[in-house]
């Protein structure tokens, strides 16, 4: 794989995985009002 392709892939995938994990951790921490009840 070429260096430029690898760098683009790693940056893009890194951003996507980071955002999904970060947002889902927050979602799991804070339940809906109904779940709290």
């Amino acid at each position: 794989m070429t260096r430029s392709a690898l760098i683009t892939l790693l940056i893009t995938w890194g951003i996507v995985v980071f955002m999904v994990v970060r947002l889902f951790v927050r979602v799991l921490r804070k339940p809906l009002e109904k779940e709290k009840e």
């Binding site: 893009t12 996507v16 995985v17």
Partner: protein
């Protein structure tokens, strides 16, 4: 008759349902095709820019409209838009939110049924020993598309009936026990199947199981940035279009799902989590399966000439066959299984707004709503199934599944940001937010997102021949007119590219006749829903007046 208000059971269920709504067949079939057709590495930059400037803002807008609608007892687009403004006409713009869901559900559940059928055929070893041509011909046989303009095949009808039955059964169970549960089961399975196939695809090496090239050749093509292509408007339009369709905005299903969220509950984080989950499936899984496998076996040149929606059915089973009896079965089940789960979580999201409209506005019971929806889908699916060759299916996809979405999204973002007002709109988006929403997006929603949508809209309307905007502008200034593409909106209406537009030739109906009749059917469906909205809201207004008087 009192209608019991439904609510989501869990937050994870809600996010997975909305993500499942967005994750569809397009993530695995349309995204790779768009990327290949628009320069591979050149595509991903405008794609991500469009996601940030149009995708995420539109998700927030639709969630905000939906949650506000739920407060007023509306769970579908006509009511959702009606309560945003005192204007009486907006509810008729909301008709798009029922029309697109109903008509897209008709042909989408048909494609979904192909995936279910192919899971079955993969499990039973149907493709074992078949040549590449035989596998491709099998798809034509399955669709019955070797019989002139009419196409009929018993297996296709049978699997369509089963798929529709599964959808209706899940919808009849209600929001929490039906849609939410199906998403909680379907989405994890889809991701596991996707990871399994992606790992297998990316580890393919030249010479292994008959592969001609390393799978990374496909990845190289997809991920090598070509900055010079960024000046090409065609690529920007294609990227914005892909973001638009992959997130399922402009469909009305997000209004519906968000309307079951309570007033104090967050929408900003939910929308973002669902949007990024869709991007995970599209960018990581969607780009790591079909392109690397096809390039490894057939080469980059073949892929660029043949990439498209049907490739997933016509080509993939042959390639899986190279992996041995057991592994090919597993790969077939995983591939078509993930497509099925991607499809069903989306088609359920198309059914729920229609059911909600029938229940809220026309006071039809849930079970009767399911029956009405089922009958309507069958009636609309018939032309798609029987006149697939005649072009009915493509017409549904173009007008209902593509153009209507752009029109509706443009109208609703103008309504939200400019009629309802951005002060109130921003308050709606940020109320109860479990994340900090950058204030910059307030201005993005007001100015940038409508502008991008306007460009997508105009791009669809006036798309030039071969997507070459520079040549089209040059032609216009040279006094030779604008060379409209046959697949532009105006080109389609005017039948550009069709030499003989007669409806009958030698007593036989032509493809043009079928295309025009399909358009009339779609127009008729739209106006029928508009009439239903007129009577439903008229009755509602009279009821409110009576309640005030008493």
């Amino acid at each position: 008759m009192s209608i019991q208000v439904e609510r989501w059971g869990t937050r994870v269920g809600l996010v997975l349902a909305v993500a499942g709504n967005a994750v569809g067949l397009g993530n695995f079939l349309r995204f790779p095709a768009q990327a290949v057709q628009n320069g591979g590495g050149a595509f991903i930059i405008p794609y991500l820019v469009s996601f940030i400037l149009m995708g995420i803002p539109m998700l927030w807008v639709e969630w905000a409209i939906g949650r506000r609608a739920g407060r007023y007892g509306h769970h579908s687009s006509p009511g959702a838009l009606d309560v945003l403004s005192s204007g009486r006409m907006w509810k008729y713009i909301g008709v798009f939110g029922i029309f697109t869901n109903l008509t897209v559900a008709a042909y989408y559940s048909y494609i979904e049924s192909w995936t279910l059928a192919y899971v079955w055929y993969s499990m039973t070893g149907t493709f074992s020993g078949m040549s590449a041509t035989q596998v491709s011909d099998f798809f034509s046989w399955y669709l019955g598309s070797d019989q002139g303009l009419l196409s009929f095949s018993a297996p296709a009808v049978l699997f369509f009936a089963v798929t529709l039955g599964i959808n209706l059964w899940i919808l009849s169970r209600g929001l929490r026990r039906g849609v939410e549960l199906a998403s909680k089961i379907g989405m994890p399975i889809l991701i596991v199947f996707g990871i399994f196939l992606a790992v297998r695809a990316l580890t393919l090496e030249a010479g292994e199981h008959g592969a001609m090239f390393d799978a990374v050749v496909g990845l190289n093509f997809l991920w090598t940035p070509q900055f010079d292509s960024l000046a090409n408007p065609k690529i920007w339009l294609a990227a914005a279009g892909q973001i638009f369709f992959t997130l399922a905005v402009g469909l009305g299903s997000i209004h519906c799902y968000a309307s079951y969220v309570r007033e104090r509950d967050d929408i900003a984080l939910n929308a973002s989590a669902a949007g990024w989950t869709n991007e995970f499936v599209e960018i990581i899984l969607g780009s790591s399966i079909i392109i690397p496998i096809a390039v490894a076996y057939l080469g980059l040149d073949w892929l660029q000439d043949n990439v498209g929606f049907e490739m997933g059915f016509r080509t993939m089973p042959t390639l899986f066959e190279q992996w041995g009896a057991v592994f090919s079965t597993l790969a077939g089940v995983a591939w078509f299984g993930l497509l099925f789960f991607a499809g069903i979580t989306s088609s359920l999201a198309m059914g729920q707004p229609v059911l909600a409209f029938l229940q809220d506005e026309l006071r039809v019971s849930r079970n009767h709503s399911v029956i009405v929806f089922g009958v309507a889908v069958v009636m609309l699916a018939l032309p798609c199934v029987l006149l697939y060759n005649g072009g009915a299916f493509a017409e549904f996809d173009y007008w209902a599944g593509t153009f209507s979405l752009v029109v509706f999204a443009l109208a609703e973002v103008i309504l939200f940001a400019w009629v309802f007002g951005m002060d109130k709109g921003w308050e709606e988006i940020t109320r109860g937010a479990d994340m900090r929403v950058p204030k910059l997006f307030r201005y993005v929603i007001q100015y940038v997102t409508p502008m991008i949508l306007l460009f997508v809209f105009l791009g669809a309307l006036f798309s030039p021949m071969d997507g070459d905007w520079s040549a089209a502008v040059a032609s216009l200034f040279a006094g030779e007119g604008w060379p409209l593409a046959a697949d532009s909106v105006i080109g389609s209406v005017l039948h550009i590219g069709i030499e003989d537009t007669r409806w009958f030739i030698d007593g036989e109906v032509t493809r043009t006749f079928i295309i025009d009749m399909t358009r009339l059917l779609l127009l008729g469906t739209f106006f029928s829903i508009a009439v239903a909205v007129y009577f439903a809201f008229g009755r509602r207004d009279r009821r409110i007046i009576q309640e005030k008087e008493s």
